[in-house]
């Protein structure tokens, strides 16, 4: 959709689900993710008139990121969730990544680990591995150099590995 101006309905239909999943992995909460998705789609509808066809992904994810950060500021709290004590014990006691993979609770543990990451790392990892953006697109959306994106993704994955193994 990069070469022409999409309609709002097209954005909602083609990207709403990705926006929701991005929001869900960032917040870990379906209600917050739903609110964020709606806020993003409202901003898209308002902003489409001024959108110049070009880097649509960067434009869309910049809106999404800003909506998320505005929400965080409004709530005056970080949407991080601490590890419950039981989960810390469980995660720390799992020795083999293969066993972790086989565990049915891996998605829960992984979600908790994502939420424990510093925001910049979590955002970069989610944009890359959940949304599927390239490093250039992430750099565009987050207004940082590609080298910073590369570093954030790498450090984020290393931290996740440390928490899950």
């Amino acid at each position: 959709m990069p070469d022409s101006k999409p309609t709002w309905e097209e954005v909602a239909r083609d990207h709403g689900r990705r926006i929701y999943n991005f929001a869900y992995r960032l917040t870990g909460n379906p209600d917050d993710a739903s609110d964020l998705m709606q806020e993003v789609l409202l901003r898209v509808r308002r902003g489409l008139a001024g959108y110049t066809p070009g880097s649509f992904e960067g434009w869309l994810w910049r809106i999404t990121r800003n909506a998320f950060l505005d929400d965080v500021r409004r709530r005056k709290r970080r949407p991080t969730v601490a590890f419950p004590e039981d989960d810390r014990t469980t995660i720390g006691s799992v020795p083999d990544p293969g066993e972790v993979l086989a565990e049915s609770r891996l998605p829960e543990h992984l979600q908790q680990a994502l939420l424990a990451l510093p925001f910049d790392f979590r955002e970069a990892v989610v944009m890359c591995d959940v949304v599927g953006l390239t490093y250039d697109e992430i750099a565009d959306a987050t207004a940082v150099p590609v080298g910073t994106v590369r570093s954030r993704i790498h450090r984020g994955r290393k931290m996740l590995r440390g928490m899950l193994e």
Partner: protein, 125 residues
């Protein structure tokens, strides 16, 4: 030996320049440590990519008709403040004089036989 550890995630994502990619590839052939790190990073990457896709709880387009929950919360809070204000300091009814009120309003009423309704023009000052 300098380990290009910081490049391993970008290597996995095919986000390195051709020179960097060649350098990392040749290094991995002789470095078990970096090869192990690469395998661990690849595992984490696979896990995140395999996270189950979440279904939005509401239809995407109609959902815009529902304001975010915080708007409902703000509206509820405003309604509560208003209600408390009415209870704590109810508005004093304005005093009026019945004769003055009657003098300001006139009505002409037509009663239709057999029908229990009335209609007609009502005028004020």
């Amino acid at each position: 030996m300098t380990h290009p550890n910081h490049l391993l995630s970008a290597f996995l994502d095919d986000e390195l320049s051709s020179e960097e990619h060649s350098m990392v590839t040749s290094h991995l052939e002789s470095c078990a440590t970096c090869s192990s790190d690469l395998a661990g990073l690849a595992q984490v990457r696979n896990w995140v990519r395999a996270l189950p896709d979440q279904e939005p709880p509401v239809p995407l387009v109609p959902s815009l008709r529902r304001p975010p929950r915080w708007i409902w919360a703000a509206a509820s809070a405003a309604a509560a403040v208003l209600a408390i204000g009415l209870v704590v300091s109810p508005a004093e009814p304005a005093p009026f004089d019945l004769d003055t009120l009657a003098g300001q309003h006139t009505a002409r009423v037509v009663v239709v036989p057999g029908i229990s309704s009335i209609r007609g023009p009502v005028g004020g000052p």
